[in-house]
């Protein structure tokens, strides 16, 4: 019994539940936490929840397209984390804070 088969024995619905839970944790983290570093981490969590779903369906359907998407998302996520952290460092240097609610200069 190869590892692939083990994955196949777990039903697809379980993957969906898991990724939904992960996504929601990420989402609520983004919405309700103030710390910018935690926000970035929560965004990673949401992206990875989506990645998990992609791979799960990819295996389930026997189609590699989903896995290719996952690689793209990982590349983008890495870039995003790099840019995000860079911005964060600059913000911290200017304000000595990582609290995003302090940044409300976009007010209408």
């Amino acid at each position: 019994m190869s590892i692939l088969n083990i994955f196949n024995q777990v039903e697809i619905s379980h993957y969906i539940y898991l990724s939904t839970v992960l996504f929601c944790i990420g989402l609520f983290g983004v919405l309700f936490r103030r710390n910018a570093i935690i926000l970035l981490m929560c965004i990673e969590l949401m992206l990875n929840a989506v990645n998990l779903l992609f791979t799960a369906f990819s295996t389930y359907m026997g189609d590699a397209d989903g896995q290719i998407f996952v690689f793209f998302i990982m590349v983008v996520a890495a870039a995003e984390a790099a840019v995000g952290l860079a911005i964060l460092v600059l913000v911290y240097r200017n304000t000595r804070k990582t609290d995003v609610s302090f940044l409300d200069q976009l007010k209408g």
């Binding site: 919405l31 995003v100 409300d104 209408g108």
Partner: protein, 639 residues
């Protein structure tokens, strides 16, 4: 050629209207005159085509382009020159030329000289479209055009607020009539499926008797239009006020041409009127009432132009009596002779006003015959012609109307004779008070009164000759078989059975014997003589001067105040409208509309103020909104 005839005045209008400001007065005046003279010459040549040729066609027809084409609705911008149009065209361009000539001298001091000629030319163009159009829509086009020109020219001296009001009054009253005309046209299209005269009349002629109710409705609606344009009760009050315009305008538009458009309309639609005795009765009685009423008012007017204006209304009433009696030829005959002598009288009064330096009150005149011999002589001829001096033009045409009225209804004849008799009283009253007696004006020295220049007296002389001999157009049968009834033959000419004549239903000569006819003539002449002797005795021998309006008593006061019709209209129509305007202005607009508009404004300010709080610059909130939005979209998709 037909196109050129119609568009020459338009070219004159455009040139004078655009470049007139830069042209010297002499050029713009002569240019305007030449344009109309050109039309007149072409009209004469076209008449030759219609009569001289051995073929003698029914009409000359030119289609310029398709006016409107929507689905099955098709109207051509087309002109036709048939025998009725020919008569009208000759009057319009002929008298138009003389009046243009006269205006060169009359208006020479006016700063709006070029504008005046531009308007006059535009008027001639529209009038030609009215009488030469080959369908009812073209007629309507010209009808509105002349209304506009009438408005522009009445209010020509627009700096005087009263003149502007007179112009507006004329426009609004005409509009009431125009609505009737327009409804009539709709009904014609609805019933006969075309606006083309020939097609409509062919359908009417072939139509069954059941459709006579529709024909009556059409005839009455068209007559409402005619009432407005030709100043009949109840829409006549604008014409006396229209005298605010320059005198040549009064002569051309408000005496000789435009006001006869209503008569033209009825004669043109003879096929429809012939089927509706009820409509003809209405036309006749309205004409009669107008004629009598205007004649009575004319007795007490002291403004030289107002007398002539009421006289015009009265004469138009006589024409409508003739139309109501089915005597279309007599009506057209009176249109022609009236155009001659009334243009003459108006131009003569203009000459007097010119010589007196803008004095119009006849009580301020008197004894002018010594100073203005040519005007005096021509005015005398005009007065004799309108009052029915034997063998002048007005005698024949008026007599023809009276004879047909006699054959139709004795009561109508009696009242029409009375109206014709009153004509004699007010005309001679005005004539004697103006030209005889002693000079009464204390502000303007008698020595300064002068005869008008040749450019003004020449048209007077020409029109005087026409007023004398104008009767040859349609002499009565007792003048000799060979030369009588030319107009009658023209209108009834059917090309030897090749086409339908202008008057599709043959007119029967009134069936009265010769004794009666001579008796009627005698009555008309004796009424004339009585009027002449009475007024001469009162105003020349006794030297009476008309009282001021305020000094009038009893019936005289009522007449001097024009039966209080203007006041009645003010109370009945103007005041309620103004009151309604007050209500709408103060309540509906101020409270209702303003509240609504302000409410929309303040409401959106409030909502936007509330919405702008949402945009607080805090990213987390934006994210929350975004998530809520997506959740709502998903929920919406799922359920």
């Amino acid at each position: 050629m037909l196109t050129l005839m119609i568009f020459l005045p338009l070219i004159g209008f455009v040139v004078n209207g655009i470049f007139g400001k830069f042209l010297p007065k002499a050029i713009s005046g002569w240019l305007g005159t030449a344009a109309v003279l050109g039309s007149f010459v072409i009209a004469l040549m076209s008449v030759m085509d219609l009569t001289g040729d051995t073929k003698m066609p029914e009409r000359i027809y030119t289609k310029l382009f398709t006016f409107l084409h929507v689905g099955g609705f098709h109207v051509d911008f087309a002109f036709q020159f048939d025998r009725l149009s020919a008569v009208m065209t000759l009057i319009i361009t002929g008298i138009g030329t003389l009046i243009h000539l006269y205006s060169i001298a009359y208006m020479h001091e006016d700063s709006g000289f070029y504008k005046f000629f531009a308007y006059l030319n535009l008027f001639i163009f529209n009038m030609l479209v009215l009488v030469l159009g080959s369908n009812y829509l073209m007629l309507f086009f010209g009808w509105e055009g002349v209304g506009l020109c009438s408005y522009l020219l009445i209010g020509f001296w627009y700096k005087n607020a009263d003149y502007g009001k007179a112009a507006r009054k004329a426009f609004v009253m005409n509009r009431i009539g125009d609505l009737g005309l327009l409804l009539g046209l709709f009904l014609i299209y609805d019933t006969y499926g075309s606006f083309e005269y020939q097609e409509v009349f062919r359908s009417v002629f072939a139509g069954s008797a059941e459709s006579n109710a529709v024909n009556t409705a059409i005839a009455l609606l068209l007559f409402i239009g005619a009432m407005g344009k030709s100043a009949q009760i109840p829409l006549y009050t604008w014409l006396p006020d229209a005298m605010a315009g320059p005198t040549p305008v009064s002569a051309l538009i408000h005496a000789a041409t435009m006001v006869t458009a209503g008569i033209y309309l009825v004669i043109r639609s003879e096929a429809i009127y012939a089927l509706s005795p009820i409509a003809r009765e209405v036309v006749m009685w309205i004409g009669l009432a107008t004629s009598l009423m205007a004649a009575l008012i004319g007795l007490k007017q002291n403004d030289i132009k107002k007398v002539l204006a009421y006289s015009t209304v009265s004469q138009l009433g006589l024409m409508f009596i003739a139309l109501g009696c089915g005597a279309y030829t007599a009506a057209l005959f009176h249109v022609i002779t009236h155009a001659f002598f009334k243009a003459l009288l108006f131009l003569g009064s203009g000459s007097v006003i010119h010589g007196m330096h803008h004095e119009q009150d006849i009580r301020q005149m008197g004894g002018l015959r010594k100073k203005m011999p040519v005007t005096y002589l021509t005015f005398l001829i005009g007065t004799l012609a309108i009052t029915g001096f034997p063998f002048l033009s007005g005698f024949f045409s008026k007599d023809e109307i009276l004879v047909s009225a006699f054959a139709h209804n004795k009561l109508v004849f009696g009242l029409a004779l009375m109206s014709a008799g009153i004509t004699g009283f007010y005309m001679f009253r005005m004539f004697f008070v103006t030209f005889h007696g002693t000079y009464r004006n204390t502000h303007y020295a008698f020595e300064k009164v002068h005869e008008s220049p040749i450019l003004m007296t020449l048209p007077l002389l020409i029109l005087a000759v026409l007023s004398v001999v104008g009767g040859v157009v349609n002499l009565p049968h007792y003048m000799g078989e060979g030369i009588s009834g030319i107009l009658h033959h023209t209108l009834s000419y059917d090309g030897g059975g090749k086409f339908s004549p202008i008057l599709m239903y043959p007119e029967h000569a009134p069936e009265i014997d010769h004794t009666t006819e001579w008796l009627l003539l005698g009555m008309a002449v004796s009424v004339f003589v009585i009027a002449f002797l009475y007024t001469r005795n009162k105003y020349v021998i006794q030297g009476a001067v008309p009282e001021a309006d305020e000094a009038q008593l009893g019936m005289g006061k009522v007449l001097a105040n024009k039966f209080y019709v203007d006041e009645a209209y003010d109370t009945a129509f103007v005041a309620p409208v103004e009151a309604a305007g007050e209500v709408v202005g103060n309540y509906v607009d101020e409270k209702g509309v303003k509240g609504l508009v302000d409410g929309v404004g303040s409401g959106s300010t409030g909502i936007s103020g509330w919405l702008s709080k949402i945009q607080n610059g805090n990213i987390e909130y934006y994210l929350v909104y975004m998530v809520i939005g997506i959740a709502l979209l998903l929920a919406f998709n799922l359920f």
